[in-house]
Symmetry: C2
Subunit: 324 residues, 2 copies
DNA sequence: TTGTACGCGTTATCAA
DNA sequence: TTGATAACGCGTACAA
């Protein structure tokens, strides 16, 4: 590998001169600078990131930590993050799995954006204590080095539940999410709150884990118990799609016997016929805001926690209860 | 930050002893080793990746370069890559955009898996010339440091075209992909070859770019020209879905007037009603094989280029031509 | 076990 | 003002 030492030798100057020239410092004559750059190009020089990092103590890389690589809305979220960071010369890398957590303490990255329930609060706080900067998208953590950008789950779940009530349903099913999921818990809590306010409303919780197959399972039970048109609130769209699938294969029809509403408005949901009613929010904005907040805490600015607003997307998957 | 120097001081030993102890070398007494580890834990020591990399000249990180973060089959592909690399102690990072290309020459990563037409052949060959190890999934490049793991596009497109012919269609539309896409070109070429072999078959090319919207545009033209049931070969599923959308909103019906077959078998295609006929292949295996090949070339083993096999997934989106 | 050279770029200090 | 010397960051591995 060719290093600045090689360039210095060939140019007959010291390595520091080479370093200054490469970094466009004004400490070197334009002439010398040009000559050095020419030699660098000729020798096909590329800097060594490890050496630079060792001295500068920053990498200009931000790590995004996801539970897995296949989430249906990660694309837009990451796009938002990337756009937010690009402008400041930061690079994004996407990581998954516990092994990759080492990037933070080992200083391979200047900061982290976390959307992964498998990353424990305790570990995050430890990292933050050591001075690492983190933005979390899936929990509440109070620490000067941590900022939160959270979905307004409460508003979303409230919209969904009230939509079902408005349409005349009084017996609802709620297909829940994983125990460990912050979003799932917040959503469930909000649904409970709405239901508690309406005296004649009842709801049945069915355990789910945000996966399509857990939605399918939930649907089996719902179909077995079927007596009258009922509404199913799925705490995310993937489970809603699972419910969809199973109902589709039964004698019952969606939007007539079984009424469904989801959460997240993933791309797929727009393709369901009848269209899946769901809760929408801008994944792109979520990412962009996370990036912005992270850059701010890295640069030492004080920041407020942020919230992403949500809206109801109506769909034919849930329609007026004709015999309420 | 606490470094091995701090540990050495506290333990009253030299830094080299600390290094050996931390790396589990047999050159240190078990007792000393234990003491050092205890102190390391107490001081909350974490190694510095930059320093280690500088010396060892490897990072144990593999970079995957994608055009963007939102491809509909990236999830499974990345899962396959990750599983292939995990076992060998390698970490995966996912990168997108030209800026991130620097990771390779700057030695932030030990190797790259590339599925991004925006990464030019020239640049890849340059990196390979400098000794960097690369597996490409979307082009043919001959270089000792580069290996290919390619889809069998020819077989896939041939299957699709023959399926349409078998069902009695003699006038086909082909919605093409981006000029720069290797896969798109191979697929188109294979379709041409099949059509050329059948004397009474004709086909019309409609330019597409693998995006849903280009499929929608293609469909507009197809609908305008509609005279009799016709088959549309889309060189990927996203465009097929675009065609689907537009046809759905017209007076024509899919699988009756307009018959569609796609390529890739993305998750979404299973949800279309009628089901989209398409060409399937294992994205997971594709990734796993890419990982395996990369590890082999990194370790200096000779490797053969690999190919991923494909199968036809029938669907009601293309049915027997009843008046051939 | 330990001293120390090394990997490579950055930057403060000092000399011309 | 221009450029050279040298310390530094941190872990590794060889020689002693």
């Amino acid at each position: 590998m060719v290093s600045i030492k090689d360039i210095a030798k060939k140019a007959g100057v010291s390595i520091s001169t080479v370093s200054y020239a490469l970094n466009g410092s004004s400490k070197v004559t334009d002439e010398t600078c040009a000559r050095i750059l020419a030699i660098a190009k000729e020798l096909d020089y590329t800097p060594n990131a490890a050496a630079r990092t060792l001295k500068k103590r920053q990498t200009k890389i931000i790590g995004v930590f996801l539970t897995d690589f296949s989430g249906p809305f990660y694309g837009l979220l990451l796009q938002g993050i990337k756009e937010g960071l690009d402008r400041q010369g930061y690079e994004v890398i996407v990581c998954s799995g516990e092994q990759s957590h080492r990037f933070l303490p080992e200083r391979m990255i200047d900061g982290a954006i976390v959307l992964d329930a498998a990353f424990s609060d305790k570990e995050l706080l430890q990292h933050a204590d050591r001075g690492h900067k983190i933005v979390v998208l899936d929990r509440e953590l109070v620490h000067p080095n941590i900022n939160q950008v959270l979905l307004d789950n409460k508003a979303g779940a409230t919209l969904a539940a009230e939509h079902a009530l408005d349409l005349g349903y009084r017996k609802l099913y709620v297909v829940t999410g994983p125990q460990a999921s912050y979003d799932a818990n917040k959503r469930l809590q909000a649904v409970k709150q709405v239901m508690d306010r309406v005296p004649d409303a009842e709801y049945t919780e069915i355990e789910g884990n945000f996966s399509k197959s857990s939605g399918e399972k939930a649907a089996e039970r719902i179909l077995q118990e079927y007596r009258e048109p009922s509404a199913v609130l799925c705490l995310n769209d993937e489970m809603a799609i699972g419910v969809y699938n199973t109902v589709m294969q039964s004698e019952y029809r969606i939007g007539e016997h079984i009424h469904i509403i989801g959460f997240d408005n993933i791309e797929l949901s727009a393709y369901m016929t009848p269209r899946l009613a769901t809760i929408d929010y801008s994944k792109h904005k979520w990412g962009a805001l996370a990036a912005e907040q992270l850059l701010k805490i890295i640069s030492g600015e004080a920041v407020e926690n942020e919230r992403i607003y949500v809206t109801l997307v109506p769909g034919e998957s849930i329609q007026l209860n004709e015999r309420p």
